[in-house]
C-alpha cells in the first residue's frame, strides 16, 4: 500500500505560517518576475483565479476583492517543505519526494489502521509546522493520487465526494462497488498522467470518468493510445506498474532524492551524491524541455534512529534559467556546502529543481554568454574521471564555480522575508 501526502495550496500555506492575518483571505503567490499565479488560497480560487493566470489579468481583484499577491519566496518554501517531508517520512519505511509539496510513502509492513496513522501524521504536520495536508492511500501510485484528489476535494468542495473521505482517503480498503462509485464521480482528466490532449481524445471515445477508464477494454487502449495509458488503466485496476521513483508525466518540479545505503558523514561523499542527483535531475529536466530557476538541496539524519538529528535544506537561485548540468550541479554543491556540518550520520539527501519554465520561453533579458543545451557528454566524462582517479576528484573542483544569488536580476516586489533562512529576516513578535 502507498500513501501520497501533499500540502494544500503549499506556497500560500507556507506564507500563512508567518502571516496568520492572511488566513481566509484571497492570496496568490506569483512566479519568478511576478509573472503569473503559481499558488492560490481557497478564497482566491473562489474568485475564479486560475493556476497560471498572468498577474496583469487578475491584478484588478486587489482593489475590488482585497486579493493579496506575494512574490515567490523559495527559500521559505524549501525550508517548510523540508520540515514537512521529514515528518511525512514517519508514515512508512520508504519515501519518494515527488515535488516540493508531495511525497509518496510506502506503507509496506505497517500494521494497524492506516487511516488513523495518516490522520495522526497529518495532525502533527499541521500542529508542528502549520501546513494543512491531505493524504491519499491506495495499492498503486495512480490510486494513491486519485485518493489524494478525493481527500482534497471532499474537504474543499463539500458534496463532491462523501464527507468522511476529507483530508484522508483510503481506497485500498473499500468494497469494489464503492470504489467504482467514487471513480464515476471523477472526471477522467483528474487521473494522474492524463493530459489535456489525451483527455479530449478519451472524451471523444466516450470515456468520461475515471470509472470509464478503469473498466475500458485494455487491448483497445493499448492499440489506440499506447502502453503508457495502458499502464494507467492497470494501475486504476489496482495492479502496481509504477514503483517508487517512477512517474508518468511532466512535472512542475523535478526531484532526485535517495536514502543512502549506509549513513554518510563526510562532505566529499555528500557532494558526490548531490552531484549525481543534480546530474540525474538535469537529464529529467531536459527530457521534459524545461529550464530551472532555483535549485534546492537537503540532507537529513534518519527519523528512525536515535542520536543527534540533522535536517537542513537550502535553496540557491540561479542567475538565469538553465538546464545545463554544470550550472545545476554547481548551485546544488554550493547550497550543500552552506548547510553541511560534520558529526551527523546522514541517511538521506536530495536535489530538487524548482520554479521550472518551458525552455522555449527563455527570457533573454540580459545577453549573457550563450549556453549550450546538453552537457551530458561532459558529465559522463566527469563521472569516468571520478571513477578512475577516486571519488570526488573532479566534483569538488566544480563546486568552486558557485552561482552567487543575484537578486538584482529578478523582480520580486512583493516578496516576504526569508523568515527561516536569514537571521536578519526573522518574524517579529510583539511583546
Amino acid at each position: 500500500m502507498l500513501a501520497l501526502l501533499d500540502g494544500n495550496n503549499f506556497y500560500v500555506s507556507s506564507e500563512t505560517v508567518f502571516r496568520p492575518a492572511l488566513a481566509g483571505l484571497p492570496v496568490v503567490v506569483l512566479s519568478n518576475n511576478d509573472g503569473c499565479v503559481i499558488s492560490r488560497s481557497d478564497a482566491a480560487r473562489a474568485l475564479g483565479i486560475k493556476m497560471g493566470a498572468p498577474w496583469f489579468k487578475v491584478s484588478h481583484l486587489a482593489d475590488s476583492d482585497g486579493l493579496v499577491a506575494l512574490s515567490a519566496n523559495f527559500p521559505l518554501y524549501g525550508d517548510i517543505s523540508d520540515r514537512m517531508m521529514s515528518l511525512a517520512a514517519g508514515l512508512g519505511p520508504a519515501q519518494e519526494i515527488y515535488s516540493i509539496d508531495e511525497c509518496f510513502v510506502s506503507l509496506d509492513g505497517i500494521p494497524g489502521d492506516l487511516v488513523d496513522r495518516a490522520r495522526r501524521v497529518r495532525a502533527r504536520i499541521l500542529k508542528w509546522i502549520g501546513i494543512p495536508c491531505c493524504v491519499g492511500i491506495g495499492p498503486t501510485k495512480t490510486l494513491a493520487k486519485l485518493a489524494n484528489h478525493i481527500a482534497k476535494n471532499a474537504e474543499r468542495k463539500p458534496g463532491s465526494y462523501p464527507a468522511h473521505l476529507a483530508q484522508v482517503c483510503h481506497l485500498g480498503a473499500m468494497p469494489q462497488a464503492e470504489l467504482l462509485d467514487l471513480m464515476a464521480s471523477t472526471a477522467v482528466g483528474e487521473v494522474w498522467g492524463i493530459g489535456r490532449r489525451i483527455e479530449a481524445q478519451l472524451q471523444e471515445a466516450n470515456i468520461r470518468t475515471a470509472r470509464d477508464l478503469a473498466t475500458a477494454d485494455v487491448p483497445t487502449i493499448r492499440q489506440r493510445w499506447g502502453v503508457v495509458l495502458e499502464r494507467t488503466v492497470r494501475e486504476l485496476q489496482g495492479v502496481a506498474c509504477l514503483q517508487l521513483d517512477e512517474q508518468p508525466a511532466p512535472k512542475k518540479e523535478i526531484a532526485c532524492t535517495r536514502s543512502f545505503g549506509h549513513p554518510v558523514t563526510t562532505l566529499p561523499e555528500l557532494l558526490e551524491a548531490i552531484t549525481e542527483f543534480a546530474t540525474r535531475a538535469a537529464v529529467k529536466l531536459r527530457d521534459q524541455q524545461s529550464l530551472a530557476n532555483q535549485v534546492m538541496v537537503f540532507a537529513h539524519t534518519s527519523p528512525f534512529r536515535s542520536g543527534p538529528r540533522f535536517s537542513r535544506s537550502c535553496v540557491t537561485p540561479l542567475s538565469r534559467p538553465t538546464a545545463d548540468t554544470r550550472r545545476l550541479v554547481a548551485a546544488g554543491v554550493a547550497g550543500m556546502r552552506k548547510i553541511y556540518e560534520s558529526g551527523y550520520l546522514l541517511s538521506k539527501a536530495g536535489v530538487m529543481l524548482l520554479d521550472l519554465q518551458d525552455d522555449k520561453i527563455e527570457q533573454g533579458a540580459l545577453a549573457l554568454e550563450p549556453e549550450s543545451k546538453d552537457q551530458t557528454v561532459l558529465m559522463g566524462t566527469l563521472d569516468e574521471v571520478n571513477r578512475r582517479y577516486g571519488r570526488g576528484t573532479v566534483t569538488v573542483g566544480s563546486a568552486g564555480t558557485s552561482n552567487k544569488p543575484r537578486g538584482w536580476e529578478m523582480k520580486q516586489a512583493r516578496r516576504t522575508p526569508a523568515y527561516t533562512t536569514d537571521w536578519n529576516d526573522l518574524a517579529i513578535t510583539r511583546a
Binding site: P20, G112, K127, T265, R305, R430
Partner: protein, 144 residues
C-alpha cells in the same frame, strides 16, 4: 502523541555505529583522558528538541521584561509542545504574533504580560485564542 519510532524492526548495519576514535591501544597505563572523551557542547542540540517544529522570532516591545525577555531578543519557539498554564507562548492576536504568559485556570484563558503597565489580553465572546507555539529560550546578544 504519535511517535516516529517505526513499528517494524529497522536493520542496523556496521556503518551506522559510530564511536569516538581514541587512537591506538597501547600496553601499560591507559590514557587518563580516554574515559572522558566527549564531543564539544552543541548549542543547537541543547536548545532545540524538535527541529522540524522549531522557529526563531525577534521580539519587539517591553511587555515581557519581568520574564526576562527584552526588546530585540530572539526567542526559540517550539510548536510541538502542548501549551499549558504558565508557559511563555507566542499567540496570534488580531492576525499578529504576540509573546505573553499563558494563563489557563478553571476554564479561563487569557494572556498576561510580564510588565504591570500592560493589561491582560482576554479573548472576546466567541473569539478563540490561538497559541502558535511555546517559547523555550530567549537569546540576547550583548555589545562586543
Amino acid at each position: 502523541m504519535y511517535s516516529a519510532i517505526p513499528t517494524h524492526p529497522v536493520p542496523i548495519d556496521d556503518a551506522s555505529i559510530s564511536l569516538p576514535m581514541l587512537g591506538l591501544i597501547r600496553a601499560g597505563f591507559p590514557s587518563p583522558a580516554a574515559d572522558f572523551a566527549q564531543e564539544r557542547i552543541d548549542l543547537i542540540k541543547q536548545l532545540i528538541v524538535h527541529p522540524q517544529a522549531t522557529f526563531l522570532m525577534r521580539v519587539r516591545g517591553d511587555s515581557m521584561r519581568e520574564e526576562g525577555i527584552f526588546d530585540n531578543d530572539v526567542v526559540i519557539v517550539d510548536r510541538a509542545l502542548r501549551p499549558v498554564h504558565g508557559h511563555i507562548v507566542i499567540a496570534v492576536v488580531d492576525g499578529e504574533f504576540t509573546c505573553k504568559v499563558l494563563y489557563q485556570m478553571r476554564g479561563r484563558i487569557k494572556l498576561r504580560a510580564g510588565n504591570p503597565t500592560y493589561p491582560d489580553i482576554v479573548p472576546r465572546e466567541g473569539q478563540t485564542l490561538e497559541v502558535w507555539g511555546v517559547v523555550t529560550t530567549a537569546i540576547k546578544t550583548f555589545k562586543t
